[in-house]
Amino acid sequence: MIPELRRYLTSISLNSRLDPLEDGDVVREMQTHFEDEIEELCEAGLSTREAVDEATRRFGSATDIGREIYEVYSGGTWLQALLAGIPHLLVALTFACHLWRYSWWLILMSLVIVGVTVYAWHRGRPGWFYSWLGYFSMVSLAVAFLVIFVVDHVLAPVVLGNNALWVVVVVYIGVALCLMGYIVARMVRRDWLFTSLMLLPFPVLFLWLVALERDTGLLEYPKQGFIGGDLEVAITFLALGAVSAAFIRLRKRRLKTGVLAAGTLLTLAVIWRFTENGFNPVICFLLAVFLTILVMSPVMLQGRVVRRRGEVEVADSKLPEKV
């Protein structure tokens, strides 16, 4: 294939940010268009290079077409929006009804999160899947702490010796990093904006833990600490549910990015308002901005990292050498 045409189709493919399955079909269809058009222009007397230039000029801006294709496929249905909001709603319910005190509820919720995440992974990783993936990571962290506790208190003294805890920690961190790397690499092919959707609950949970620790000494008296702020915690996770649902419904990428950034910043600001002792406003503002940037960092990195890698991938694998 002529390099200019390959670059042009690659640009459409990168801007459309489609799932590889859909992307293959869309790009292939456009390639057949160019086969016809270039053949016709060559018959009219143009050289192949001139024909490619003319055909791409007639086709229009690759960036605009890629964006339009993105908008066709990016808007989810109301059902998909609801599915994206459900994990946040589950957490909101957990706090609103003080259900976090019951082990059976936490185990049941963890099983549901793991089950739905695995199911959605095998069903082609639809957009709403990434909301669940964030909580799946939290469940994995909780399991890690549980494993470390069991090893440290039960197995280490009897079976594994004194260094067992460190061995378990290192192995777990290694496995977890490989798993997360694999997941992120799979997501990169689609859209790093979904990584931000996945990270959405992390800063909220982090800030709540810090705020409640300051207000009520959460680490010393966990039950009183949480009950005091349960309703407020529930409201913020309810807000995350609304942000995730809006993210899925919106078509334009800029609006999706905006709703995630604004939603994170506003939720963090609300947490600050709810805390009794209050942080220093400047520190709180800086912390909220830092955490928002952290959530949005995948989107900011994408332009730099993925574009180069994506060009190679698309050029190598999706476009047969016909034109």
Partner: protein
């Protein structure tokens, strides 16, 4: 081109016979005597939008020369949408004609 009219034209042509993208562009240009010309790439998002709305369905089909093309077929839902758009257009153009055509004031 007027907003929404591209999709009306696409549905009308696909309703007459299944076509693929390039063929569709050429057909629109030919039938309109070159009046309708647009950036060809904008056709594909429109086709995929209609397909997502289940108004048309795309299927890969092998041509006699061995090449494959993605043909679009009108669905039942697409036929209903086309009928509605056609009625709407006929009403609109009839009303416009009544206004822009010269009237003999002596008859009024």
């Amino acid at each position: 081109m007027l907003k929404g009219s591209t999709e009306h034209l696409i549905l009308s042509l696909i309703g007459q016979e299944p076509v693929y993208g390039y063929q569709l562009i050429k057909e629109i240009e030919k039938r309109s005597g070159g009046y309708f010309r647009f950036k060809e790439g904008t056709l594909y998002p429109a086709l995929h939008r209609l397909e997502k709305e289940k108004l048309i369905e795309g299927k890969w089909k092998k041509l006699p020369n061995g090449q494959e093309r993605r043909y679009y077929y009108l669905t039942e839902l697409g036929q209903q949408a086309l009928d509605e758009k056609r009625a709407e257009w006929q009403g609109f153009s009839a009303a416009v004609n009544l206004i822009i055509e010269p009237v003999d004031l002596a008859e009024v």
